[in-house]
């Protein structure tokens, strides 16, 4: 098994939205950041992976097994955190452990206690009284306590303050250390992904636009700033998207070294994941 997740030509059609031939991989031992604006198809893709929605076509393999055939076996070794807390308001952390110990074969009570302690989650309060940060930390503690090989996180860090977010990101980094474990993390807080992701998969209007190693992406792509005259000389194959400002053009280019060679005096900036998203989302082609 080289890939923790392998999605091929996933299709799902809704009335007003569809996933079109979504394919990407999560190599084992890596963190893949799954980005895209709200409604781009991140959650739908994740739901299709977990069979929460049916699909119209395509194959999905997780941990080397087909998600339709070996669903239960796969889910035994996958931890999922969704946007929000899915435990009932009246439960306490101990109640959750009782219930999950009989759901997961590999539930590790000691590990769970360790995470509760690490995250400073009280065991005498009901979940209703938890803050949003505490609820998220609880979900993450639960997702890790049955010793999964793969974590799937859907907007797990959104709505949290920077301190909690960093604390959580550290836990993810620890999880990945043994090079066996893998994480797929969907987020629109791109600064988090700048910190931890090894690969970036970018989905836009139901289609995968980018699937690349983060370092390559950031070192290759650039933002070329030029006037109308220079922009006119650019060929369509030389840039990905452009944005027109009052006096100048900002152009997202795929190969900044090549452009620099062509226009030695060009003003070229590096990019961040956020800028890439903005160019694709709001720029023109």
């Amino acid at each position: 098994m080289i890939n923790a997740i392998e999605i091929k030509n996933l299709n799902k059609k809704y009335q007003d939205f569809q996933l079109k031939d979504v394919s990407f991989k999560v190599p084992r031992g890596s963190i893949v950041g799954f980005i895209g604006e709200n409604g781009a198809g991140k959650t739908t893709t994740i739901k299709a992976m977990l069979n929460l929605v049916s699909r119209d076509g395509g194959t999905i393999e997780m941990l080397g097994m087909d998600t339709l055939k070996d669903e239960k076996k796969i889910k035994e070794s996958v931890g999922v955190v969704m946007d929000g807390c899915n435990f009932h308001d009246n439960l306490k952390t101990g109640d959750i452990a009782k219930m999950l110990a009989s759901i997961y074969k590999k539930w590790n009570q000691e590990l769970y206690q360790q995470y509760l302690k690490k995250f400073k989650l009280p065991d005498n309060k009901i979940i209703k009284a938890f803050s949003r940060g505490m609820k998220m930390k609880l979900q993450i503690a639960v997702a890790l306590s049955h010793q999964p090989d793969l974590l799937i996180l859907d907007e797990a860090t959104s709505g949290l303050d920077p301190i909690v977010r960093e604390e959580i990101l550290d836990v993810f980094m620890d999880f990945i250390q043994d090079e066996e474990h893998s994480i797929l993390i969907s987020s629109h807080i791109t600064s988090d992904l700048d910190k931890i992701a090894d690969y970036i998969v970018f989905i836009h209007q139901g289609k995968i636009l980018l699937d690349e190693e983060k370092e390559t992406l950031l070192s290759k792509m650039g933002i070329f700033k030029c006037g109308e005259e220079d922009f006119g000389k650019l060929e369509a194959s030389e840039y990905l998207r452009y944005r027109k400002n009052q006096f100048s053009f900002e152009v997202l280019v795929n190969d900044k070294a090549a452009i620099r060679k062509k226009y030695p005096n060009a003003l070229m900036d590096g990019v961040t994941i956020e800028q890439i998203m903005l160019f694709y989302g709001r720029g023109e082609k």
Partner: protein
């Protein structure tokens, strides 16, 4: 599956406490009057709780999350029916205890009629659950509640109508026939209801 049932019972912990107080109150008020009304109330209160557990699940968006765990859709549905059976049985046992204790306190011998009443209500509660669970899976808790009221009105209306037109209901001197009919009807109802719920739930998109 055990985990799912446990989850519902843990969730109802506070409801159980409240119910205990109410039961005590009703027992004190009604038993001295020799009113068998209380047995119905106890069982139906417990039967209603399966609906409460589903509303709790909705509130927490539990089902979508539970299905990310090694739990099949079949187990999700089956666990709800088992919770219903457990709650109804719990209600029936408590009614029985109230009945026995009541008779002892009132210095009467335990009337077999009480047993018959509890048995009949128990079966009716099962039928009630079998109607509402598939309705909830299809339409959601709020709409299903309204529909259930309509469902309850329907047989009443039919009975009234039958009376109006002087349709004579088939009668028999042997009460055992009614009992067997009721049991058969309940069992068939629960099984049919489970199969319908499973079908609806298997196609559900979260």
């Amino acid at each position: 599956m055990k985990g799912l049932i446990l989850k519902d019972l843990l969730n109802l912990k506070s409801t159980f406490k409240m119910l205990g107080v109410m039961m005590l109150f009703f027992a004190v008020v009604f038993i001295p009057q020799g009113n068998s009304f209380i047995f119905g109330i106890i069982i139906l209160m417990f039967a209603m709780m399966v609906v409460t557990t589903i509303s709790y699940d909705d509130l927490a968006k539990w089902d979508a999350y539970a299905l990310t765990m090694p739990v099949t859709r079949k187990e999700m549905v089956l666990s709800k029916y088992l919770v219903m059976a457990i709650l109804n049985t719990l209600g029936a046992v408590l009614s029985l205890i109230v009945g026995v204790v009541g008779s002892v306190i009132m210095g009467q011998s335990f009337d077999l009629e009480i047993l018959a009443i509890i048995g009949a209500i128990y079966l009716i509660a099962l039928i009630f659950g079998s109607v509402i669970i598939p309705l909830i899976y299809k339409f959601g808790t709020e709409k299903a509640r309204l529909m259930l009221i309509l469902c309850a009105l329907l047989p009443t209306a039919l009975m009234l109508l039958a009376e109006q037109f002087n349709v004579s209901l088939p009668t028999t001197g042997n009460p055992w026939i009614y009992l067997i009919l009721l049991i058969g009807f309940s069992v068939a109802g629960v099984i049919l209801s489970y199969l319908i719920s499973l079908k609806i739930y298997s196609q559900k998109e979260f």
